[in-house]
């Protein structure tokens, strides 16, 4: 009954079976996350060994260290969400995604704030960073060149990983993977900022290092604030939105449209929350005057909505005499209208 992935585990999110395409995407996302972790191990080691007393290198190192959190949060969350609902957790374990996201965002925010303070105080105190020689396999080099080489190495792979993860985040509707991909894509700026800082030291501009560190810390803080906002609003049961948190999810109007199109339905409205990967849908339908829907009507109506998308599985359909206003805030003012483009099924 359940399809297996290459690891032999059920490729499910709770009791939601994943279509083949999404299963492939999930496997790829897991592979990419492990690849990210492997790359980060080399980056963290390399930057640590070349670090010396440069503030910018320290900031870049901290950022690499923090970059471990999103892929680990993703892997842990995916592992948790595979679990089927239990009597203790009737809604399943999908919220693991939201929890993972919040933890990652908190770490980014706290470290970002600390590092902004740290590098700003270095600038105010006019700390001149010493960068001397280093022995490397019998050769003596200025360690600034070494730092630049290591930073250049850390610039490229995250961008490629981020670009590969982004479409998967959309397909799997995974906020943590999205946050990770988004940060990866911007990672080259950290490396370039660090390189500019080190070159600045080389040219005798002591402040270049602290300014570069401030820039890097600022980008970490910004990541933290953005992610915190999305994670908190998801845990607060905000309406279902697209994977990047930019727009209302196109499936929501599609559900209402599908239900309203049924001949026995006068009007239909739903509230949809994002559980992490999958949606929890509560739909209210008002039958046309004088019609009492049969069990077959209701079952068919539910089935027609569930088949819209793999994300819709956990759905409750309630026939009502009129739309309950307290459960559907401002529903009257919003016409049922699908703005879903070619992506609408995603």
């Amino acid at each position: 009954m359940s399809r297996k992935d290459s690891t032999g585990r059920n490729a499910t999110f709770g009791h939601t079976e994943l279509p083949d395409e999404e299963q492939a995407a999930l496997r790829k996302a897991i592979r990419l996350s492990w690849l990210s972790i492997a790359f980060l191990v080399t980056a963290v080691t390399g930057v640590y060994l070349a670090m010396g007393s440069s503030q910018a290198m320290k900031a870049a190192w901290m950022e690499d260290l923090l970059s471990f959190i999103p892929p680990i949060a993703f892997l842990v969350a995916v592992h948790r969400t595979r679990k089927r609902p239990t009597p203790e957790h009737p809604y399943g374990y999908h919220r693991a995604v939201g929890v993972g996201h919040l933890v990652a965002a908190t770490a980014l925010l706290a470290m970002g704030a600390f590092m902004v303070f740290d590098s700003a105080s270095g600038l105010v105190k006019a700390e001149h960073p010493p960068v001397g020689l280093m022995e490397l396999g019998g050769n003596v080099v200025w360690s600034g060149w070494l730092m630049i080489a290591v930073l250049a190495y850390t610039a490229v792979p995250p961008v490629l990983l981020g670009r590969a993860k982004m479409p998967l985040a959309q397909q799997l509707h995974d906020r943590v993977l999205y946050a990770d991909a988004d940060m990866n894509k911007a990672d080259w700026m950290t490396a370039v900022g660090g390189i500019v800082g080190i070159l600045g030291i080389g040219l005798g501009l002591w402040w270049a290092d602290a300014v570069a560190a401030l820039f890097i810390s600022g980008s970490i803080l910004y990541d933290g604030v953005t992610n915190m906002r999305v994670a908190v609003s998801a845990l607060m049961d905000a309406r279902a939105e697209t994977y990047d948190g930019q727009d209302p999810h196109p499936l929501v109007p599609q559900i209402d449209e599908r239900l309203s199109a049924l001949p026995w339905v006068a009007s239909a409205r739903s509230r949809v929350r994002d559980q992490g990967h999958v949606f929890h849908v509560e739909s209210f339908v008002v039958p046309v005057d004088g019609y009492a829907p049969t069990l077959e009507d209701l079952t068919a109506a539910r089935a027609s909505v569930v088949e819209l998308d793999w994300k819709i599985d956990d759905m409750v359909l309630a026939p009502v005499t009129e739309l309950p206003e307290q459960l559907l805030p401002e529903a009257e003012n919003q016409p049922v209208e699908s703005d879903g483009g070619p992506d609408a099924g995603r």
Binding site: P129, P130, G132, M134, I201
Partner: protein, 158 residues
């Protein structure tokens, strides 16, 4: 937009790098000043590295004193010895009243926040048989001076 900005920054830095003769350069020009001039060196007694056999007014002695004299010669500088305690000397180094402090310092020195410790030029065994890495203390961020001194120290112990 950001990409164009970054490219501009990189180009500007490379251009600057092209104009400047040496990397690294001193923000406060220590190497330029001491070359052919006076090298002000703080000495904290710590035999056998540094010692003041004839009291604070006499000439200092010790292996690091000898090394510094050779280094000064290599950059054509006169050494002005300033004897004192470590904390006092590091304070003067921070205030740019000294160019170098010696006193058998090791890489574990807590002064690394206040002074640029050189690359460990020598590995020795401490009083309790532990490994010790000998360093000297240069002013913070005067990287051309630091690199010149480190080159000399590493050559001297090849």
């Amino acid at each position: 937009m950001t990409r164009r900005f970054t490219t501009a920054v990189i180009l500007a830095v490379l251009l600057l790098a092209g104009c400047s003769a040496t990397i690294p350069t001193d923000p406060d020009g220590t190497l330029d000043r001491v070359s052919g001039g006076t090298l002000r060196v703080g000495v904290s007694p710590n035999p056998p590295w540094t010692d003041l056999p004839d009291g604070p007014d006499g000439d200092p002695a010790g292996t690091e004193v000898a090394l510094v004299e050779q280094f000064a010669e290599s950059i054509d500088a006169e050494v002005e010895w300033v004897p004192g305690g470590e904390e006092d000397l590091i304070g003067r180094l921070e205030r740019s009243e000294l160019d170098l402090v010696i006193g058998g310092l090791t890489a574990k020195s807590p002064w690394s926040e206040k002074a640029a410790l050189t690359y460990r030029y020598l590995e020795t065994t401490g009083p309790e048989g532990e490994k010790q890495l000998q360093v000297m203390a240069a002013p913070m961020g005067e990287n051309a001076f630091l690199v010149e001194l480190e080159h000399f120290l590493l050559e001297a112990h090849r």
